[in-house]
Amino acid sequence: MSSRFLASVLLTGATALALAACDREERHSRAKPIGETIPAGESPDTIWPGGTPAPALDARAKLYDNNSPAIAEGQFLYMKMNCVGCHFHGGGGMGPPLMDDEWRYGGRIDQIASSIAEGRPNGMPAWRTKLTDDQIWKLAAYVRSLSGQPSKDAVSSRSESMSATTPQSLTPREPAHTSDTAQQ
């Protein structure tokens, strides 16, 4: 095998690798208009009684879930909007923990976004008029990262702000349980 041939193979390989790296995640600082299926100002119903097949995941999920700018901004909002006041850093206090495997109102990102937007009984306030949809979905993306749902490369190994906790990339992944089992 001539060295010239080897060099061209290496060059082709390197080019292919470099081109593959072009597929970076999208950083969208503004919410994209998604075809509205529900009246403005309402969240879709995201809780289904046992046995009913769950509807398809909201189209917005792929924009926020696993998206690291969204998770980072969600973390900022989680601190600034005082989510820590009740949920602490995921461990839960006055509010339920967010880093475990139990989801009373569902652990899908659209279900979490709906819980934030509409509020839930016994203390969770509705944020629909206080934050934008974009911010609520970013918060939901961060809340999912508290139980290790996004892939490790999407969460930060160094948080945006000063923190004494272990980096998010070390968060163990919890299997999400349905609301029914969480009620047990």
Binding site: S29, R30, A31, E73, K130, L131
Partner: protein, 343 residues
Amino acid sequence: MTRLLRAPALLTPLLLGACDYQSYQSIFSGDAATEVHQFNILFVVFLVVCAVMYLLVLIFLATGILRARRASEAANVVESGRHNQSHPLMRSGLIAWGALVSVGLVALAIASFFADRSMAQAAAHEKLSITVTANQWWWDVQYNSGDVSKTLRTANELHLPVGVPVRITLHSNDVIHSFWVPSLAGKQDLIPGRENDITIVPQKVGIYRGQCAEFCGTQHAKMAFVVNVDSYADFLKWWSHQLQPAAAPTTPLAQAGYNYVTQGQCSSCHAIAGTPAGGTVGPDLTHFASRRSIAAGTMPMSEGNIYGWVEDPQSIKPGSHMPTIGMEPKDLHAVVAYLETLR
């Protein structure tokens, strides 16, 4: 273009750019603050001493080269290395040179000592205390006072009384930023979890521009602020005006804007004194329309710019924490009408 023309063509824009060097953001804008004044004196002393030394060295070097040429024409002369045998003129010349170097260094040391002391002097006579907290990407400004009712919070704008030593305490909420008003002082970093400070004694009434001088994220370039140096009376007038809560809206449109701002998304992050809006995430808006710029020096204050900023901040400053709400036009008109009353 011929080669002859290319060099002037490249140089002209540079030289023309230098015409604007005494703009309101420049380290050469003169004696706007004591610190800068002292520093400029020190700079001149260093420049003169070093220039004299440099010229002397060049002269000696040139004569050395010329002499060596002439000598080589005559014969190969090897110096003995014993200075007591060298020419008396050469000996006294070397002693004088040594003395000159010592005097020059001593002059530099003395000048630097006095400049340093006089800068430190200003810090010891602090008369006004301000806390500046940097955020991505805006400046939170708090005027401290022993009397809590005189404590004032504003953003992206500093008002300083002329001739009064001001101590500015610097904090950061997220990453490292740097506080830099080139006309008034050197750079000082704002470091998360640490307290830093800088003392300024402004000497000239005027408006100066400050800028974050440490790369802090995508919108680092749009993180500026305005320093307004006023006479003492004007400063006190400004302070007492800023202490007033926001005036109640008078027109129906402004009233609608008030309702939106205090009940909608705006108040989650922004505070307006005298209203239920009490968010601490974004800049205080109590006297928003009295400031010279919007969004930390991003745009000058004007009705059109307020419209643009409120409707779609993410197109003007992508990545900033202020979200694009997607307001209905009627809400937008109302909110802008209300914001304009916050003078």
